[in-house]
Amino acid sequence: MLIAIISLSVMGLALGLMLGLSSKLLRVEEDPIEGQLQALLPGSQCGQCGYVGCSQYAAALAHDGAPVTQCTPGGKSVAEALAKALGVSLDLSDAEDIGPKTALIHEDLCIGCTACIRDCSSDAIIGAARQVHTVIGDVCHGCSKCETACPTGAIEMVPVAVTLDNWHWDKPNLAIQDSLANPAFAAQALANRITEESDGGQGKAYKASLEKEAKEEAIG
């Protein structure tokens, strides 16, 4: 009995001491969520979100509850990743997803001033003074800083083209689970689908009943 009490209290004290010490010694200065959020952001410091750079936006997300939909180059996928990391729900219904964009330099307007090159945070524009500049599509992430910097309006942000390399099948459009809300499954729509050819006149009675139902729905 005595041995048990003594051994347990010694163990308790020792473990408590260890916990106390480790909380002092292994203390994390920075909020880990901030670094985690920053890693999700594009990291090009473009400032489209309204903050100075990505780290400032990450801090605002972590502490001031800034909205997760502010990152323009990141688009929908970054917004989703941020929402997931922060555990907030994401409402994209009012945010229009414009899709990825890339900068395009109209060569007849470019005067070779290098203003865009200086502003580009990912070195995606090549060119020299008084030489036409061009954009390396694969490293442009569409932050549109260059568009603002260009004095002649030669830069346009264009949607990234769908090519044979990045094309994929569309998502099948299926509304069966939401059939009650789907107009395609309304009684009248179903009735319209029953035609002489499709059922050889067998479905007349069903069609009539569907039409009756549709009328009742309209009145109700």
Partner: protein, 487 residues
């Protein structure tokens, strides 16, 4: 030989009788050929001819670029009329770079490389180089450059070369006909592939629904101790390379393992014939066997069509389409895809052109899932289509990825058996494409992040240098002032 069972699969009605007994017919020369620069998996080839050039049959038109690529050769002699973007034979209908060749009607050969009368006496490396030059790709449909596969396999101990003559897709009879009419060339090609990679034996897998081909191939293989014919059960999709290897060796290969890593090299029987012809005759791959069939086709046939022939010419040669034809499909009915129009050309991967009628397709509207689990039973990859599709429908692609949707190879067995006619494989095709694009996007983001960090570091360094220079200038000025005072 001993066969092993493969899980899942379906037994569709094969509908091969329309063309299985008809001899392969060569397609006559047409006025224009359209040669997309990308007919294979991997990077696009690059044109090496100019507009207005006169080219001979078999002359190189476009050279491969990068590690995984294949060249394109002229299917006939004529003049290059254009190199431009044209609608690709792809379901998207998007454009791809295409060489337009106007035939001069002479069909005269260009100068070809040396024909090896006995290819087994030349260095295996030369054979692999020849296959690369000839632009041979997997003719089963995936169109993976054959030379790349040979090169990768030659660096590994290959125990067995498997020739795929399963042809499990309904309607298609191209491989069947090739084995019946060119059995010797197929077997020589198989032996040559084995020689090129140092493999001791060749096994040719043929589904039991092709008894004539099996009989002819068995007879032709008698002369060789190391060539064996395996008659496989008729079970779709046993013609998928991984499942074929499983049926023959019992080894189940994970989606992320190369087949060559288990010591097996798989090539289609048509590919083996093309490999043989490239070495023995010095011929590049400029034509392929195409099955033209389907309920909407007036006179179904198996054709030897030059690459680049418009699909329309094949259909016209087969008596045109009847009024019931509703959809033109390239490939088989299960894994094939619709064509944007019939002006697009036959390419190296075109195994079939089918004109399907509405009775041959399933237009029944989708109904709610019954959770019957039949899709799980038939999935040859052991996936769970019922769960994956419902996740994808709700845009939960990450979760679908965890259920290994990327291992799906789109055989379509799940959609085929679904009693609710749900577009299951269509969901997986969408999800796979979207996940690929996301991975690509992630790769791009990482590159941009690295570049942005590099630029920041560079700017900081410039700033530091400037400060240093300013300090130095200040010090120099101060020293000069001091000197002045002293004077």
């Amino acid at each position: 030989m001993k066969l092993f069972s493969v899980r899942g699969g379906i037994h569709p009605s094969y509908r091969k009788q329309a063309t299985t007994a008809k001899k392969i017919e060569p397609l006559p020369v047409v006025p224009f050929y359209f040669l997309p620069l990308r007919q294979h998996s991997g990077a696009s080839a690059e044109a090496v001819v100019n507009i207005g050039d006169h080219v001979g049959k078999g002359q190189l038109l476009a050279a491969p670029v990068g590690r995984i690529s294949a060249p394109v050769h002229a299917p006939t002699s004529g003049i290059v009329r254009a190199i431009q973007n044209m609608t690709a034979p792809h379901p998207s209908g998007l454009p791809g770079m295409t060489i337009v060749l106007e035939s001069d009607g002479k069909d005269s050969w260009a100068e070809l490389p040396e024909a090896y009368s006995d290819p087994f006496s030349v260095d295996p490396k030369l054979i692999r180089e020849r296959v690369a030059w000839a632009g041979v790709v997997g003719l089963g449909g995936a169109a993976f450059p054959a030379a790349v596969k040979l090169e990768q396999s030659s660096q590994k101990p290959i125990k067995m070369v498997v020739l795929n003559g399963a042809e499990c897709e309904p309607y298609l009879t191209g491989d069947d006909r090739v084995m019946q009419e060119y059995a010797d060339e197929v077997i020589s090609g198989g032996r040559l592939i084995a020689y090129a990679v140092g493999a001791p034996k060749v096994v040719i897998g043929i589904e039991r629904n092709k008894p004539e081909a099996i009989a002819i191939m068995k007879k032709a293989a008698e002369a060789y101790d190391n060539v064996e014919i395996a008659d496989l059960p008729a079970q779709y999709p046993v013609g998928s390379a991984r499942h074929l290897v499983q049926a023959l060796t019992g080894l189940e290969i994970s989606a992320r393992t190369r087949i060559a890593d288990v010591g097996v090299l798989v090539q289609n029987v048509g590919t083996a014939r093309a490999v043989w012809r490239s070495a023995h005759y010095g011929e590049p791959l400029i034509s392929r066997i195409v099955t033209v069939s389907g309920g909407g086709m007036n006179d179904p046939k198996t054709l030897d069509a030059p690459i680049g022939t418009p699909v329309k010419a094949l259909i016209e040669y087969c008596g045109g389409m009847n009024e019931k034809a509703e959809q033109i499909v390239t490939g088989g009915p299960l894994m094939g895809v619709g064509l944007p129009n019939i002006d697009v050309p036959v390419i190296k991967g075109t195994a079939g052109i089918l004109a399907l009628t509405s009775e041959e397709m399933d237009h029944r509207p989708a109904e709610p899932c019954l959770r019957c689990g039949r899709c799980v039973d038939v999935c040859p990859c052991g996936l769970s289509p019922v769960e994956m599709s419902s996740l994808i429908r709700r845009d939960k692609l990450d979760e679908a990825e965890q259920l290994q949707v990327m291992d799906c190879f789109s055989c379509g067995s799940c959609s085929y058996v679904c009693p609710s006619h749900l577009p299951l494989v269509q969901y997986f095709n969408y999800a796979k494409g979207e996940i690929w694009n996301r991975r690509d996007e992630e790769r791009k983001q990482n590159k941009i992040k690295a570049l942005a960090a590099a630029k920041e570091a560079r700017l900081a360094e410039v700033l530091r240098q400037r400060q240093l220079a300013a300090e130095r200038a200040k010090a120099a000025k101060a020293a000069a002032n001091k000197e002045e005072k002293a004077v």
